[in-house]
């Protein structure tokens, strides 16, 4: 078994999903080789992996990897991994993982399983992944080596930090030809938490009645460090941009806490958030289907409930 974990970082800071995958491998008694690629100082990211049990971290270095490109990363990983005869290559199903991994799989001419919520690496590789936005799931087995898979963030638990400094091997990355160039990075101003990686999400439906009213939710979100989501109805009505949409034709999320405000709970919305650990529903209509799926429900007007919730959370924050 030779398992390779492509660890992801953002400007040198390790993404948690990498630790989630690492911990799961260790729980199964498998020690993966971790691979990091980038331009800057990746030492602290490598040490972080060591802390959670990685014995060996390979760092692929190239100044050209400073800006993300799927070609550069896939080339770098392939150049290194093709010399290692890996049984499985695993990475996080972040936007980077999703974008780069198909290219890597194509280079190996093997199959791919994206956005898995379970995987098995001990004694043969297989994975379970949700399909139809979580309305059901399938098991994937691989008939070619290496098995290439990505794992959904926020699903697997991170183990104890009782590891030691890993062995770090630095390799000059071969990035090949990069044609797609990033010419500008545009930010919408406020730093928003990415929905698919958020621990807490507070979402609004059409009953928010306007784009401005979403401020009620973002105020609450900023106190909790949460991301703000929206139902398709709210997006279609123009109250929220489509990158905030949760559901079958939006994002599939599995935060620890999902607070649905004024969302009735259409089947296509439920599909996108049903794997959340705890669901809270706030809705005026006591018969709204969302209450059937919620752990805690408040029948009430979100315009009253949410601001009060924000105040309560502020108090709590001040105490701790």
């Amino acid at each position: 078994m030779s398992i390779y974990l492509i660890a992801e970082h953002k400007e040198g800071k390790l993404k948690r999903v990498s630790l989630e995958i690492l911990s799961e491998c260790i729980r199964q008694g498998v020690e993966p080789t971790c691979v990091l690629a980038g331009a800057g100082d990746l030492d602290s990211a490598a040490q972080e992996l060591g802390k959670y049990g990685a014995k060996k971290v390979v760092v692929l270095e190239n100044a050209e990897l400073k800006n993300y490109t799927n070609e550069g990363l896939a080339n770098a990983y392939h150049a290194y991994l093709s010399k290692q005869s890996p049984t499985a290559i695993i990475t996080g199903a972040s936007w980077v993982g999703k974008d780069m991994l198909p290219r890597l799989a194509a280079k190996f001419q093997v199959g791919i399983a994206g956005d898995c919520t379970e995987f098995k690496v001990a004694g043969g590789v297989s994975a379970r992944r949700p399909v139809f936005a979580g309305k059901c799931s399938q098991n994937i087995s691989f008939t070619a080596t290496p098995a290439v898979l990505s794992v959904r963030p926020n699903v697997l638990a991170v183990g104890d930090a009782k590891g030691t400094a890993p062995q770090i091997e630095k390799v000059s990355a071969e990035i090949g030809q990069i044609r797609a160039k990033v010419t500008e990075v545009l930010s919408s101003g406020e730093k928003k938490v990415d929905l698919t990686e958020a621990d807490i999400i507070i979402s609004g439906g059409r009953s928010l009645k306007s784009a401005d009213n979403f401020k009620i939710l973002s105020d609450c979100a900023s106190v909790m460090g949460a991301a703000v989501g929206a139902s398709r109805a709210a997006v279609d009505a123009g109250y929220a941009p489509h990158d905030m949409q949760v559901g079958q034709t939006g994002k599939t999320v599995s935060p620890k806490l999902y607070i649905a405000c004024g969302i009735s709970g259409a089947i296509q919305h439920l599909a996108g958030m049903r794997t959340s650990k705890v669901i809270v529903a706030i809705n005026k209509d006591p018969e709204a289907p969302i209450f059937q799926k919620a752990d805690y429900g408040i029948v009430g007007d979100l315009f009253e409930v949410v601001p009060l919730l924000t105040e309560e959370l502020k108090k709590l924050k001040a105490q701790s």
């Binding site: 070609e71 896939a74 972040s94 936007w95 999703k98 198909p102 290219r103 799989a105 194509a106 001419q109 093997v110 199959g111 399983a113 994206g114 956005d115 399909v131 139809f132 936005a133 059901c136 799931s137 399938q138 098991n139 994937i140 087995s141 691989f142 008939t143 044609r179 797609a180 160039k181 990033v182 010419t183 500008e184 990075v185 545009l186 930010s187 730093k191 928003k192 990415d194 698919t196 991301a227 489509h242 990158d243 034709t249 939006g250 806490l257 049903r274 794997t275 705890v278 669901i279 809270v280 059937q292 752990d295 805690y296 429900g297 029948v299 009430g300 409930v305 009060l308 919730l309 959370l313």
Partner: protein
């Protein structure tokens, strides 16, 4: 410019999913098949690009059993010029589909490929990237703006947390679009009448030189998620309800 649009036919989003007897797939009977919603944006973007360039053609391609011809006809009714059907009746995976598409793109002398950012059935979001690599073309996904001039595509793509990249891709290239890039037009009635007369090219995997290829992954053991049980409704006046909610989230479920 020869524009190729990848179209997948998927169950309607309102479909209630049931598992087949052998658990190797979902129950296919009684499903209403539609064009993958993200692929509708891709078709529209293909048509818009052709209109902006004032020259070229749009060819839609779909891999699947005979029923996918209906999706192709809808795309033609929306305005696509040509349609290709890669007829496969067996289960295929990303690998085999991308292989077949790459061969069709070559046969049709494609210079730009549009696809949706993912199909809403298997949610893999992998075919276009796989295809780009097989063709050795650059690619971008989650594209929300796209302008094509001769030799290059200027795009904007979503990244995360409210960030976007502006990118420049030399063509040929593969571009996977996200919701919001445009508003797909309807298949108009004159379009529907035109589409019924349109000849659709059909290829088998053997026609594409892939007769002996098999999938590299196998799906099995489909299952439905456990039903969530309804929890408790918190009573009292609003202030009491909110206080109790915060207490429960903190003490009972420990999520804040």
């Amino acid at each position: 410019m020869n524009i190729i649009v990848l179209v997948k036919q998927v169950p309607d989003t309102e479909t209630k999913i049931k598992i087949s007897g052998d658990k190797k797939n979902i129950e296919q009977a009684d499903i209403k098949w539609v064009i993958n919603p993200y692929d509708e944006f891709a078709i529209e973007q293909g048509l818009k690009t052709k209109e902006a360039l004032k020259t070229g053609s749009v060819t839609v391609v779909s891999v699947g059993p005979d029923r996918v011809v209906e999706a192709l006809r809808t795309a033609v009714a929306m305005g696509a010029d040509n349609a290709c059907h890669v007829k496969v009746d067996q289960e295929v995976d990303t690998y085999l589909v991308a292989k077949a598409l790459a061969e069709v793109v070559k046969k049709e002398s494609g210079q730009l490929v549009f696809s949706g950012k993912q199909a809403i059935d298997d949610d893999q979001a992998a075919t276009f990237g796989y295809l780009a690599e097989l063709l050795n073309w650059p690619s971008a996904s989650m594209v929300v703006k796209c302008e094509v001039t001769s030799g290059k595509a200027m795009i904007q793509r979503e990244v995360e947390g409210g960030t976007r990249f502006s990118m420049e891709l030399p063509t040929p290239a593969v571009i996977a679009v996200d919701k919001g890039i445009n508003t797909p037009r309807y298949a108009s009635l004159p379009g529907i009448m035109k589409a019924k007369k349109k000849e659709i090219k059909t290829y088998s995997l053997a026609d594409l030189g892939l007769g002996s290829e098999t999938p590299k992954t196998t799906a099995s053991d489909y299952s439905l998620p456990p039903e969530r049980q309804a929890g408790k409704k918190i009573s009292g006046d609003t202030a009491t309800q909110v206080k109790e909610l915060v207490r429960l989230l903190r003490e009972e479920s420990k999520v804040i």
